[in-house]
Every structure is written in C-alpha cells, then in structure tokens.
Symmetry: C2
Subunit: 248 residues, 2 copies
C-alpha cells in the first residue's frame, strides 16, 4: 500500500483475461481467440482486454469480457478470480499486469457474434498442456493454473454442476468428473455418493433416456456449495499412492 512518495510511482497497464472452460465432445476445452494484431499475431490467446476505463472494477471487467466473448450474460455462470500475472517481460510492448479469471460453463451453442468476438474457438486443454498448441504470452501457464484450480475445486465444492446444463442426470455429472480429472469413476458408488449429499442435487421428477438404457432421473443444482465429505480424486489418496509404489 501507498506509503510515501506520491511521485515516481510506476504506472502499468492492467488487463483482465478469461480462462473459460467447458466440457465438450468428451474433453475439457478452453475458449481461445486467434490474435489479429502484434505481438503474437495469429497465435491463440486467452480472451481479455485492458480495463475499459480508469473507473472499471476488475470483477466488472471480467464479467464484461465474458459477455463480449460468449454473448452470454455473466450472471448465472461461475466466475472467480484466478490470480494476477505480472512478470515484467510477459508482454513485449511493455509492462502489463493481467488479472485472470476462471469461468466454467456448460456446453452451450455460443452465439459467437458479439462485438469483440473475433475468431473464438474451443481448444482441448490437453493440446495446450502438452504444448501441441502454442499460445501467446504466458497464457500456457495461466491455462495450466486454471485447469488445476478447476480440478481441485471439483473435489470439495459443487462446482462440477457449473459444467452441466440446468437439468442433468447423475451420469452426466459423473462424466464431468471423469473428463476433468481424466480418470474413470465407479458409476455405482458415484451415484450413491452424490445422491446422498444433502442439497447437492434436487430431483426434478423428470427422466431422460438421452444416454440410452434405463431412464435416468434428472436433477437441478441444489443450494449446497461445499461438499462434505469431499469427492476425492483417485491417485491422490494414500491407498492409491501405496498401490502405485507397489506397482513400481
């Protein structure tokens, strides 16, 4: 915080970037835009931009960008701050500190036509994480952080439902977990677990057969936000670690 010298304070440009994740065609994907100007012309980058005015709030800027990029009202979508990225050399044009936000959304048909929506496209995060898709600036690191944040929040919050449409079946919810975590989950134990957590899922009374087989009950998000007990990823528990150790 400000202490003395109200002069010689370096001023920097502040940008707000968005890591918008969705589960689509069986994969975790992120919305990236093709850059139309230098630097990194033609590269993929996170959608975002500088503050629109010196008075714009960071959260408001993130919500504005989200609407601009997806055409959707930010209201109803999950949007949380991921962190600030401010390495001095991260932008060749000069000092830019970016505050990045994480957004989660279901697989919606994007009316990608809004003012700023240039060539936005969904890119599988694996392509970015495995360096198959080069992304501009330090965005690969940001995307890595965003994915890890999403992965860990599925464990102890009800956020997985943010990837689902308003009405979803237990197996659709399970597929979200499986895709985000990249590992299979026992359908039977999962069903029991999520339906027994209070206020996590509220039955709509409706059923669907869109996944084939016996009709599945449809649920809406409940009011719970924290999961107790948590739904833990395999591979991080002690038992799993011991198993891995044994298997060499």
């Amino acid at each position: 915080m400000p202490v003395d010298q109200p002069w010689e304070i370096p001023l920097v440009a502040v940008a707000v970037d968005l890591a918008i994740l969705t589960v689509r065609s069986g994969r975790l994907e992120i919305l990236l835009v093709r850059r139309g100007i230098e630097p990194y012309l033609g590269s993929l980058a996170l959608p975002g931009g500088f503050l629109a005015s010196p008075e714009e709030d960071l959260d408001a800027a993130a919500a504005r960008e989200l609407t601009e990029e997806t055409g959707l009202a930010a209201k109803g979508l999950h949007l949380e701050q991921l962190g600030a990225y401010g390495a001095p050399d991260r932008d060749p044009r000069g000092r830019v500190v970016t505050v990045c936000y994480l957004a989660l959304m279901p697989d919606l048909p994007l009316p990608v036509a809004g003012g700023d929506a240039r060539s936005a496209e969904w890119v599988p995060v694996q392509r970015v994480l495995r360096r198959r898709a080069g992304v501009a600036f330090d965005h690969a690191k940001i995307i890595k952080d965003a994915v890890e944040r999403a992965r860990s929040k599925l464990e102890y919050t009800t956020l997985a439902t943010a990837f689902c449409s308003p009405e979803f079946s237990v197996s659709e919810l399970r597929r979200v977990y499986e895709i985000v975590w990249g590992q299979p989950i026992d359908p039977r134990n999962f069903h029991r677990k999520v339906t027994s957590i209070e206020d996590f899922l509220v039955p709509t009374g409706k059923y669907t057969t869109r996944d084939g087989g016996r009709p599945a009950a449809l649920y809406r998000r409940g009011s719970a936000t924290l999961l107790h007990p948590a739904i833990l990823r395999n591979g991080t528990g002690r038992r799993q670690l011991a198993r891995l150790r044994q298997a060499r």
Copy 2:
C-alpha cells in the same frame, strides 16, 4: 490481453501488499503498520508498497517488501499470492490495484529496524475480524481472505509447519492447528495421525521438555507438501453438522 487500441489504455498504480501471519502468544496474529501519511493517517494497514520500478516482478516485490518489513530473508518463508484487489474506489488518491501476498512465519523476534520498518506491530486477527481494530482501505477484507486461505490450507497441505520453528514437537504443531482453526483437537488422535503421514514429520532424535511433562520428540518438516488423507477441521464434516443440527 491487449487486443486493439494501443492508446487510451488506462494506466494504474500497482501495489503489492503483504498479509504476514504468525502464531504468537496463543493467537493468530498479523503484522500491520501504523500509517504515517494520508490517507488513513494513523490507521493500521498491511505492509506493502508500490512497485519499486516498472521492471520489478510482482513476486520479487513481495519478497522485497517481506524483507524490508521483517528483516528476514524471504527465502525459507512461505509466500504465496492471495489475489488482486482492484475496486476503483479502494484508494481515495486514485486507481490502485494491489496484488496481495500471504506469508506465514514462526514466532520470531523481528529485528524490526530495516529501512522501511516504521511502527510495525503484531495484531491479533480476531481484533481485525471482529472490527475491534479499524484498518485502512479494504484491508479488513484482505485480512479475512488471508486468514481463510491459511485455515483451509492447513487442512490439505503441510503448511502448518510454516508456523513452527525449525524443530518442533507434535503438540506444538497441534497448537498451531488449534489456534488457527480456533477449536480444540484431541491430542492423542492428532499425534497418531500426523506421525503416520509419510514424509510429513522427520524425527530429529532429540527431545524437549519445554512444554512440561514427559519429554516430547522433536521433528523437522518433511518433504511432503500435500496431506493425504487431509486433516479436517471439525465443524465442517457431516457428522459435526448433524450434531449441530440436533443441538439446535
């Protein structure tokens, strides 16, 4: 991220603030400084300051401030980014975005003499959270976030050891949990749990009687950073909730 107009980009002042927590005299306390200038002259505030130069990295600025305020090398202390705070009206002097960092340290005698170290003092966080101590700017909110971050990280990481001196007993570690979480923990179950987690605590072979009673084995931090299974706070689990519900 930068899209078009390389002009008319609002420039803002970027500050780096520190929420330095420690466990001291049986309480969780935070290092605050008494402001010597307007605004909020005379109020308590988080230590911090503007970037020293347009080239300074955010993490480096946080480490520099930490050293300036505590006289301690940032190396060895836990320092992580908490988030960016950028409400447009948070500083009456104009637009300031602050990137806040969380630092945890043991109860060390601070050689508070370093250049910038004005009147730094340890303040019990309860005094701030309960609005007994007015703090400048939006720092009450930042402190609230810092404490909540610390509390939740004790659950699933080995961070509690950051509050302990290099060699500590199990009960000293337990006291950290009890103080940060504000609730008693069964000493016997705690002992068993922490000593059974691999690479959490490494025995030094030494013993101490500084807490009275039978000599306690001294440990150093192990290499583990994540706890599996986690050490869960009471009051958040299902059983506890059910109990509370029953008790009305």
